[in-house]
Symmetry: C2
Subunit: 342 residues, 2 copies
């Protein structure tokens, strides 16, 4: 019996379970509620329920602002310390336990033993491979990584990747399910530690730590170098398109042919790969596949974005003392009792 | 005679010169015009003038939207192929020539020979040290790096750092001048290849190239992992505050104490520095110095920012076919004849 034989089509799912009610699990719960699901949360901590409800209440205005699905209601939330009770009727499970391998292995085995046939389990792990996490489960075919970004109710990205024994149909199903509920899904075809986004931000973070360690920059300088610099471009165009635009009308091809030698510069502690003709062509064609419009048009779009973003930030700062008040008066999302996934 | 003896207070500057009229030099020219200066641009290429005017015209609506200074006018722009003519009356010079060391060395020497006493020269170089660039000048005390981000008329960041022979008073003057004209200035106390922001984005870029090279991710996946993920947080909170929030109520201290071991994970090809007690304390106190508000308040602020940003992006996409039209019809900033600084 395989999970794929029993899976419900993603659009027919009405009830989901969340295993773990911390910041990430609670954020998922809030998001699932906003999408109209009945949400059953399991957490072994008896104090989890009130904390979770505060988190959901704090997130609800934002979710309302972004648009609730028909039938969305906080009344559809239930919290359980008993796992069997929580999984009863659940058609999908999102696991968001603390980031400890052995704990995850035991938890996935327990979920596997309790969950009905055909129920897919997505893990919020920020870096473990499903191959490692699923060592103790009986049915590894239905376990897949579905890695969100914090806060899961606001950041669209979910990275999906299966383990060695995950059924490719399960991976595809999970991607469809997350897309169906409005997420921006990236399906990886192989396991890479840290997936994609965490590898990229971790590279930046490690270089930043080296700079602080060597006294080359302060924490404040590092942050401002991003918020007032490239951070104003990245919500609109990622690092590859950013460099595509850096090539002027010639785009990425010109950029690599012209600035390729700078990859040899001691600009970071990380050495770049050899810029072979094959790598050059992969990057150039990748940019064209991602967005074939002329660079001039991408420049205009980026500029409109930055202007709108800067005006928005100005307006937010202008109203900040008032807007910030609810949080400091106890109504904000201050109830994170455990670490958020970075 | 030193430059410092002859420097005009930053707020009394009325005329600036730009050496080089490419994307970066032209972007600086547009910005200086918007701030009300008379701007004299030198470029040896006779075709530079019409291109520059198109660039300024394309940037002007954005600059108008962000607010023009009293007296700002495109009529205050002049373009010269003769350097002496361009520098006549200029009280500050921004150099934005192509990124070639020998070319920069010769150009700075020529500018030094022509510029009046006390005129400070800021270089837009994206990575060379002023110590290297000023090898051939007679008065290295007045040369300083003032590194902008593209486009210089929209991105606030300017990194300021002097060379071995730069007068610290000149470095301070340049920082004051850039701040006076509305820039977000980071003054570095030592020369580091790539300064700060370029080192950080270069670390990310190099990791991305490795991933493409190994077939671990496509160009499109890399970009979307940023635009739909951490890129939605970085305009509001830089990488250090991002991890400060990742620590929940315990902030960066909890984050480092708890997730420190993950620095040993093979999450990127760049090894992290040893997390010594000293480094830990530097990062923790750096976060507190940058923003002492409780994490709950920072979380609420980030969430408001992400919501507003997502709504803004939705609205931009909704009007995109119309808004994008001018660029594709020949009115956009498509006249980059040379590479943009990344």
């Amino acid at each position: 019996m395989t999970a794929a034989q029993h899976m419900v089509p993603p659009e027919e799912i009405t009830t989901v379970a969340c295993a773990g009610a911390g910041t990430i699990g609670g954020g998922w719960a809030a998001y699932f509620l906003a999408r109209g699901f009945r949400v059953k949360v399991w957490d072994p901590d008896a104090d989890a329920a009130p904390r979770l409800r505060r988190l959901v209440d704090a997130a609800w205005p934002a979710l309302t602002e972004l648009g609730l699905a028909d039938g969305a209601s906080r009344e559809k939330l239930s919290v359980h310390t008993d796992m069997a009770e929580a999984l009863e009727g659940a058609q999908f499970i999102q696991e968001s336990a603390p980031e400890k391998l052995e704990l995850k292995q035991d938890l996935l085995a327990a979920l596997d033993a309790e969950a009905a046939a055909g129920v897919v389990v997505g893990s919020s792990t920020s870096g473990y491979s499903m191959t490692d996490m699923a060592q103790k489960v009986q049915n590894p075919d239905r376990f897949v990584v579905g890695h969100p970004f914090n806060p899961p109710y606001l950041i669209p990205l979910v990275e999906v990747v299966g383990g060695e024994h995950t059924d490719p149909q399960v991976t595809a199903w999970a991607a469809q399910f997350y897309e169906h509920i409005g997420k921006s899904v990236i399906t990886m075809d192989r396991e890479v530690p840290g997936f994609i986004a965490n590898r990229l931000q971790e590279a930046l973070w490690r270089e930043a730590l080296h700079m602080v360690d060597n006294g080359e920059a302060t924490v404040e300088q590092i942050d401002r170098s991003i918020t007032d610099g490239p951070g104003l471009r990245w919500p609109f165009q990622g690092p590859m398109l950013t460099f595509h635009l850096a090539g002027g009308e010639g785009g990425m091809a010109h950029m690599l042919d012209h600035f390729g030698p700078s990859l040899k510069s001691p600009w970071t502690r990380l050495d770049a790969p050899e810029l072979t003709g094959q790598l050059r062509d992969s990057v150039v064609s990748g940019c064209a596949e991602e967005d074939a419009r002329p660079v001039s048009e991408l420049v205009a779009e980026r500029d409109r974005g930055i202007i709108a973003l800067r005006r928005m930030i100005e307006q937010m700062r202008a109203v900040d003392p008032i807007a910030a008040a609810p949080a400091s008066q106890g109504e904000g999302v201050q109830d994170q009792h455990q670490e958020e996934a970075a």
